[in-house]
């Protein structure tokens, strides 16, 4: 077994170490697979390991170093990829029976950029089926467990992406976030998760869920690592017409911990929502005090329409999903029944056999909301409510640079605890409005729950394309708090 302990190294330390010759990219791949071997039978973060791809990438980095070439910014950094992103040489299953044997025939732009930046593709990560869920319990291949307590969910839908980073199996990972699917699992696993502004990262090659909401983003153990990964994957892409032309900034270069004069808004009205644990509320109030102590100008702000975000999202998200998932028809790819009477029978039974219960629920809800007679009452109203939420944010960002809320109303819950769909959906109460408005936001660890010992997360929201500001605030908070992101499962194990 390798002596390298990935959980004690940041992605930056990994790449600096490779550049300095302290260790080889091959040793890093070894360390990553050794950790997976040791822990993943319990955690189940990975659906697929890709050592052939990882070692090929590692050998390229090591050869480049020996040849004295300049190394790319993530050279040798072990990385995991959510299994809804395409990469040639891998299966892309979306944790669904529907795509169990689907082999990628092209590369997702964000994944391609991460690998071009020198990251090692260690494997594909577990998720809720088609990203529908907040716990990974909807994976057709079994849930991921939280490295902080194997009895608890890691959050979702990017639960594998979060758990693999928390357990030190990889240094960074990619997830996707439609209503909180990066930030919520980051909060529940004590990791940093960033949802970029809509359009900041190309969506080409990520299997679509809600096309007006989806964004790919990074997980890391530190804010700096998330910034490094964002820098690698962000930017315009000719294959995604909604990708933004806005300049990619050197996100990691400005994390100097200085937030003096930063205008920080503490969002007070949604803090009082039912179901928000007292300790979660307190941690946000403490964060506001900490920002004030660091020299930021902190004041209270409200987002009066944000409370309607959940209802609007559970119309718009399923409506877009039901349209996007129409492509799974058993003809061109995916599961197909072999005894169909006719083509309609083939479509209908292939779909019903291939999709899990939550996927069917979302398709049904979305199709209903878009169907004749209900369109105006649900979809039309939801799109108008979305306008009000956008206006709330716009007004708030006239006065503030960043806004603070909890990431989730409570820390990680136990498996099976939220069997009622709506109770599960409530987990994304704070994250959903950000997707509806297209803003960027990060979740940073904000402490541990005194009862359960599980991590809590602070959500820092920024204006459109204000990733630099959000990362700067998050880095300052991270430094001031000094949270140890190593879960008990990992401590003392190499």
């Amino acid at each position: 077994m390798s002596a390298l302990d990935l959980s004690s190294l940041s992605a930056r330390q990994v790449r600096d170490g490779v550049a300095a010759g302290d260790f080889s990219a091959r040793e890093l791949a070894d360390a990553s697979y050794a950790r997976i071997q040791a822990l993943d039978a319990d955690v189940h973060a990975f659906l697929q390991l890709t050592p052939a791809l990882a070692y090929e990438a590692a050998d390229r980095i090591d050869a480049a170093r020996v040849a004295g070439e300049e190394l790319p910014p993530l050279a040798g950094v072990p990385a995991g990829i959510k299994d809804n992103m395409n990469l040639i040489g891998t299966r892309t299953t979306c944790a669904s029976r529907m795509l169990e044997s689907y082999e990628s025939v092209y590369d997702c732009t964000a994944v391609r950029r991460l690998l071009d930046a020198g990251a090692l593709p260690i494997g594909k990560l577990n998720m809720d089926e088609f990203a529908f869920g907040s716990s990974t319990e909807n994976s057709a291949f079994g849930p991921t467990r939280n490295p902080w307590s194997l009895d608890c969910v890691p959050g979702g839908s990017s639960g594998g992406s979060a758990a693999s980073v928390a357990a030190g199996m990889v240094s960074i990972s990619l997830g996707s976030d439609t209503g909180g699917s990066i930030r919520q699992p980051a909060a529940l696993t004590g990791t940093v998760g960033l949802k970029p502004t809509y359009g900041r990262v190309s969506r080409y090659g990520v299997v679509a869920f809600g096309s007006s909401l989806d964004q790919i983003g990074p997980f890391g153990k530190t804010v700096d690592d998330a910034a490094l990964a964002l820098e690698a994957i962000a930017g315009e892409d000719p294959y995604d017409a909604t990708s933004a032309a806005a300049t990619v900034e050197p996100y990691a270069a400005v994390l100097d911990g200085d937030v003096r004069g930063l205008r920080v808004g503490l969002v007070t009205d949604i803090l009082e929502v039912e179901g928000c644990a007292a300790e979660v509320r307190q941690s946000v109030l403490d964060a506001a005090k900490m920002f004030a102590a660091l020299g930021a100008d902190v004041a209270e702000v409200t987002l009066p329409s944000a409370k309607h975000g959940l209802a609007a999202y559970y119309v718009i998200g399923p409506a877009e999903a039901s349209s996007n998932l129409a492509r799974f028809d058993g003809i061109r790819y995916g599961h197909r029944v072999d005894d169909a009477a006719d083509v309609i029978d083939l479509y209908s039974r292939s779909r019903t056999e291939g999709f899990g219960p939550e996927t069917i629920r979302r398709i049904m809800l979305g199709t209903y909301a878009l169907s004749a007679g209900y369109y105006d009452a649900y979809y039309g109203q939801a799109q108008k409510a979305r306008t009000l939420i956008i206006q709330d944010f716009r007004k708030a960002f006239e006065q503030f640079d960043v806004l603070l809320t909890p990431t989730t109303p409570e820390p990680a819950f136990r498996f099976g605890e939220k069997s009622d769909p709506y109770t599960m959906y409530l987990n994304d109460f704070y994250t959903i409005p950000v997707n509806l408005a297209g803003n960027c936001a990060i979740s940073v660890p904000s402490g541990l729950c005194s009862e359960s010992g599980m991590p809590l997360g602070l959500q820092i929201i920024g204006d459109h394309f204000a990733e630099t500001t959000v990362l700067r605030a998050a880095a300052a908070y991270e430094k001031a708090l000094g949270f140890d992101t190593t879960p008990p499962l990992v401590r003392g194990r190499v």
């Binding site: 082999e103 039974r349 999709f355 799109q383 108008k384 956008i390």
Partner: protein, 100 residues
């Protein structure tokens, strides 16, 4: 607006899902409950509010009219459950049996 089993069967047909009676029963209850929560939207006074289709102001994006290669045929067919080597194979859509 209470959702009925007949509604659920209609929506399943629209969505091309072949639900069992048991699935129809449980989905009627679950969708009914979810719609109850979503109902707050219908009670909001949103007269005169413009609906949002996209979070950012976006306009049409033009690109150069340059030919680029798409997926090769064998790649496009690679994941298909049934092909004849050149095309996807589907059950007969119109009656009349073999047309070859």
């Amino acid at each position: 607006m209470a959702i009925t089993e007949a509604d659920v069967r209609h929506v399943a047909m629209l969505a091309r899902l072949a639900l069992t009676d048991q699935q129809v029963g449980s989905l009627t209850a679950e969708l009914g409950s979810l719609l109850g929560h979503i109902d707050e939207l219908r009670k909001l006074d949103l007269d005169g509010v413009e609906p949002t289709a996209h979070p950012l102001a976006m306009t049409n994006r033009m690109r150069e009219d340059v030919v680029v290669h798409g997926l090769a045929r064998e790649e496009a067919l690679r994941n298909a459950p049934d092909t004849d080597g050149a095309a996807f194979v589907v059950p007969a859509i119109t009656g009349g049996g073999d047309v070859s």
